[in-house]
C-alpha cells in the first residue's frame, strides 16, 4: 500500500494498549504481502519474517525492527446517571481530552464525546482550573438503563479522529505514535522486495508499549535477534518548545545516540544515510529513551540496539502531526541498511561468531 493510504487505514483504526486486535489485522494483511510468514505471539505482537537469501557458507543472522501499534486510550471505571467515568491507559495531558470524540467499545462500538459541566454555569475560579479527571465524563447519549445493558466497567475507549492532510506534505491525526513506525517498517519491507539481503528480517508491530514497553520485551525474547532497531516518534519542532528538545519535522530520520544505542550501530546507520544521501538528523538521548529500544537492549544476553525517531508534533494528542516524507526516508534507510548487513557488520558490533550450519 502507499504510505498515505496505509497510514489513514491504521491510524483511524482502534488499538488501545492491550486491545490491539483491530489494528493488528490490518497490519497483518499489509505485512503479509511483503514477508514470508506472519505470526502473533502470546502478548499479541505481530511478527512478520522476511528471510534473507544467503549462500550456505554464510551464517544465519537476524535483525528485529520494532514499531508499536498500540495507542493511548481510556477505560470505563464507573457508570453514573447515564454518564461514564473513566481512567487513562497510557500518558495523557488531561487538558486535551475535553470536547474530544471517542468510541466506547462496549457490547458494540458506541460513538460518544468527552464533556464536562458547561462554562456558563461555572464560576471564574472553576474556569481557571484544568478540568480534573473526576469532572470529565464520557457521554454516549444513552439512558441510564440502556447504558447498564451495553457498557461495563473495564470497557475500553479509543479516541476518534479522522486522518487529515495538511499543507506541505504533513498529515495529522491520532495514534501516529507509533503507527507511523509501522508504516516505516512496511515501507522498508517494500523496498527490500527489490534488494538482496542475507540477514533475516523480523518486522514486529509490538503491543503495550504505552503501558511499559511490554510487547518489545517479550517479542525480542522470543525472536532472539542479533540486532534490534526500534522506530518510534520523537518530539518535532513546534512553537513554544525549545529546539534542544526537538527534531525537525520533514528533516528526515532522527537517529538516536546515547546509552540506549549501540555506538557501532549508530555509526552504521548514519553512514548508510550519508552514502545514499538520505537527509537525517542526530537525536542525542542522554538516558532512558522510553521506547521499545530501551526494553530490547537488555533482553537475554543483551542486544545491540538502535533507535530511529520520526519527528512528530503534539505527541499524545489527537492531532499528532508528521511529514509523510520522513516515513518514506526511514523505510528507505532501513532497507538500505539491511541490504548492507554482512558478517563484517556483525563483527563490528561484537556479535559472537556463528558457524554457517544452522
Amino acid at each position: 500500500m502507499q504510505i498515505k493510504d496505509f497510514m489513514k487505514q491504521i491510524t483511524e483504526a482502534s488499538g488501545v494498549s492491550g486491545y490491539e486486535g483491530g489494528v493488528r489485522e490490518l497490519v497483518r494483511t499489509e505485512l503479509a504481502a511483503y514477508s514470508d510468514e506472519v505470526r502473533t505471539d502470546t502478548l499479541g505482537s505481530l511478527i512478520a519474517l522476511k528471510r534473507g537469501q544467503r549462500p550456505d557458507d554464510v551464517p544465519q543472522r537476524s535483525i528485529m525492527l520494532a514499531g508499536h501499534m498500540d495507542e493511548i486510550g481510556l477505560l470505563v471505571t464507573k457508570l453514573e446517571k447515564g454518564y461514564l467515568r473513566f481512567s487513562t491507559v497510557g500518558g495523557f495531558d488531561l487538558r486535551v481530552l475535553l470536547g474530544q470524540e471517542v468510541i466506547v467499545h462496549g457490547r458494540r462500538d458506541f460513538p460518544g464525546v468527552i464533556g464536562t459541566r458547561p462554562p456558563h454555569v461555572l464560576g471564574p475560579e472553576d474556569r481557571d482550573q484544568v478540568v480534573p479527571l473526576d469532572r470529565l465524563f464520557i457521554d454516549v447519549g444513552l439512558t441510564e438503563v440502556e447504558l447498564g445493558k451495553n457498557i461495563r466497567v473495564g470497557d475500553i475507549v479509543s479516541l476518534r479522529r479522522e486522518f487529515t492532510e495538511l499543507a506541505g506534505g504533513l498529515v495529522a491525526g491520532k495514534a501516529f505514535d507509533d503507527r507511523a513506525a509501522v508504516a516505516c517498517i512496511d515501507q522498508c519491507l517494500q523496498y527490500l522486495a527489490g534488494l538482496r539481503h542475507t540477514w533475516d528480517v523480523y518486522a514486529v508491530a509490538t503491543v503495550q508499549e504505552e503501558t511499559g514497553l511490554k510487547g518489545a520485551l517479550t517479542s525480542a525474547f522470543g525472536i532472539d535477534p542479533d540486532i534490534g532497531v526500534a522506530i518510534d516518534v520523537g518530539h518535532g519542532n513546534m512553537l513554544g518548545v525549545s529546539e534542544v528538545d526537538t527534531v525537525n519535522v520533514g528533516g528526515g530520520p532522527a537517529i538516536g545516540f546515547g546509552p540506549n544505542i549501540h555506538p557501532a550501530l549508530y555509526e552504521q546507520l548514519t553512514a548508510t544515510a550519508s552514502r545514499y544521501e538520505i537527509s537525517h538528523q542526530i537525536d542525542p538521548i542522554p538516558g532512558a529513551s522510553g521506547t521499545d529500544a530501551w526494553a530490547m537492549q537488555v533482553v537475554r544476553e543483551g542486544i545491540p540496539t538502535a533507535l530511529i525517531s520520526i519527528p512528530l508534533r503534539y505527541m499524545h494528542t489527537t492531532v499528532e502531526t508528521i511529514s509523510l516524507k520522513d516515513i518514506e526516508r526511514i523505510g528507505r534507510l532501513l532497507a538500505l541498511f539491511i541490504a548492507g548487513l554482512t558478517e563484517e557488520s556483525a563483527e563490528q558490533l561484537g556479535l559472537a561468531q556463528q558457524s554457517s550450519a544452522t
Partner: protein, 344 residues
C-alpha cells in the same frame, strides 16, 4: 435530516452566508416573501389567514462560535482569537477548517512528556495557542490563509441513537433552533409569521436587534439550542436543563424576563397535548429574545429551547425527541396564540 446539513455548514458570527444558503434552499418554497437585510439576517414572511392579523416574529440565530486568525507567525503557524464565548479549555488538540477554502489545521499543544507537573495544572490561554496548517514559513501560510479568516471546528454530524435518539455535532446552538423554525414554516397560521434567521447572536444579539426593529412584531419567540447541565456533580445542584425531558421554556435568563402570558400559553399547550417540557433554570445565558423584547416600544417575548450538552465546544449532543417535541410544542402554542390577550 436538515439538522445534519445545518450543523456541518460553517457560519461563525459575521460570516453566516453558507448557513443562510442551506436555510434559504429549504424554506424558499414555503414562504411568501424573503429578503436579506443589511447585517445579513434572513427575513422570511409567511402570510396568515384572517382579517386583523398580528405580526409574530420567531427568531433563530444562524451564527456559531468559532475562531479568527489574527496573525501569521514567521514559522508559518497561525495565532487566533475566539469569536463568541468559547471556554479556552476545549481548544487543545482539535481540528479546524480555515476560511472559505476550508484549509485544514490543528490546534497543537506541547507534549505531556515535556511538561513540568505544575504546567499540567495550568489552563493554556488562547493567546499562547496556535494553529498548524503544515506551512513551514509565513509565505507558505499566507498562500493558504489570510489574517481575518474565520475558522470553525471540523466535526461531522453523527447519530448515536438509543432511546433518546441522541445525535452529536457542532453548532447545535443554534442550528437546532434554525431546524425547528424551518419545520414550523410547513404550516400556515392565523397571523403573519416572520421567520427570522439572525446573525451575530454570539457576539451580542446584534442581528435580532435590527431585525426586530424592521419587522416591528406584536409577539416574539426565540428558538434556541440551550445549555444543559445534567451530569453528575460534586454538589447537589439543579441542572440547567436535562436532555430527553422535552423543550425548555425560559422564565428568566440574563437577557430577558419572559412574558408571563406567553409562558402560560406554552405550558398550557404542553400539558393539554401531553408534550414533555421543562423550565430552564433561571438566570443563565441570554438569547435573541433579549434584543427582541426591547425593540421599539417593547415586544412580548419568550424563549423555547432544545437542550444541548456541551454547547460552545466542538461537539454538542442533543436528543431528536426533544427537537421534535419543540416543533410540536411550538405548533400547539402558535395555534392558540390568537386567543391570548396581549393588551395591557
Amino acid at each position: 435530516m436538515l439538522l445534519k446539513e445545518l450543523s456541518e455548514a460553517v457560519g461563525v458570527s459575521g460570516h453566516e452566508g453558507a448557513v443562510r444558503e442551506v436555510i434559504l434552499h429549504a424554506i424558499k418554497a414555503r414562504v411568501d416573501e424573503h429578503h436579506v437585510d443589511a447585517l445579513g439576517n434572513l427575513i422570511a414572511l409567511k402570510k396568515g389567514y384572517g382579517g386583523q392579523r398580528r405580526k409574530v416574529m420567531i427568531a433563530a440565530h444562524m451564527d456559531e462560535v468559532g475562531l479568527m486568525i489574527v496573525r501569521i507567525e514567521k514559522e508559518g503557524s497561525l495565532r487566533f482569537r475566539p469569536v463568541g464565548g468559547i471556554d479556552e479549555r476545549v481548544l487543545l488538540a482539535k481540528k479546524v477548517l480555515i476560511g472559505d477554502k476550508k484549509v485544514p489545521g490543528v490546534i497543537g499543544s506541547k507534549p505531556v512528556h515535556l511538561l513540568e507537573p505544575r504546567q499540567r495544572q495550568q489552563v493554556i490561554r488562547v493567546e499562547d495557542m496556535s494553529i498548524d496548517i503544515g506551512a513551514s514559513n509565513q509565505e507558505d501560510a499566507a498562500n493558504l490563509v489570510k489574517v481575518g479568516d474565520y475558522a470553525s471546528f471540523d466535526v461531522a454530524y453523527r447519530v448515536l441513537g438509543g432511546e433518546l435518539q441522541a445525535v452529536t455535532g457542532k453548532a447545535f446552538d443554534d442550528r437546532a433552533g434554525c431546524a425547528v423554525l424551518v419545520e414550523l414554516l410547513k404550516n400556515t397560521y392565523p397571523f403573519d409569521l416572520y421567520a427570522v434567521f439572525t446573525v451575530e447572536e454570539e457576539v451580542g444579539l446584534r442581528g435580532a436587534k435590527v431585525a426586530a426593529y424592521s419587522v416591528a412584531p406584536d409577539v416574539g419567540f426565540a428558538l434556541e439550542g440551550t445549555i444543559c447541565d445534567d451530569m453528575p456533580k460534586q454538589k447537589d445542584a439543579s441542572p440547567t436543563t436535562v436532555v430527553g425531558k422535552g423543550p425548555a421554556i425560559t422564565i428568566m435568563d440574563r437577557s430577558i424576563i419572559a412574558d408571563k402570558r406567553l409562558v402560560d400559553l406554552l405550558v398550557t399547550a404542553a400539558e393539554e397535548k401531553r408534550i414533555p417540557y421543562q423550565f430552564k433554570q433561571p438566570g443563565i445565558g441570554g438569547t435573541d429574545a433579549g434584543a427582541m423584547h426591547l425593540s421599539r416600544e417593547g415586544v412580548p417575548s419568550v424563549v423555547v429551547a432544545v437542550p444541548a450538552r456541551y454547547i460552545h465546544s466542538p461537539v454538542c449532543l442533543l436528543s431528536l425527541k426533544d427537537l421534535r417535541n419543540t416543533v410540536g410544542l411550538m405548533n400547539q402554542a402558535l395555534a392558540r396564540l390568537d386567543a391570548v390577550d396581549l393588551s395591557r
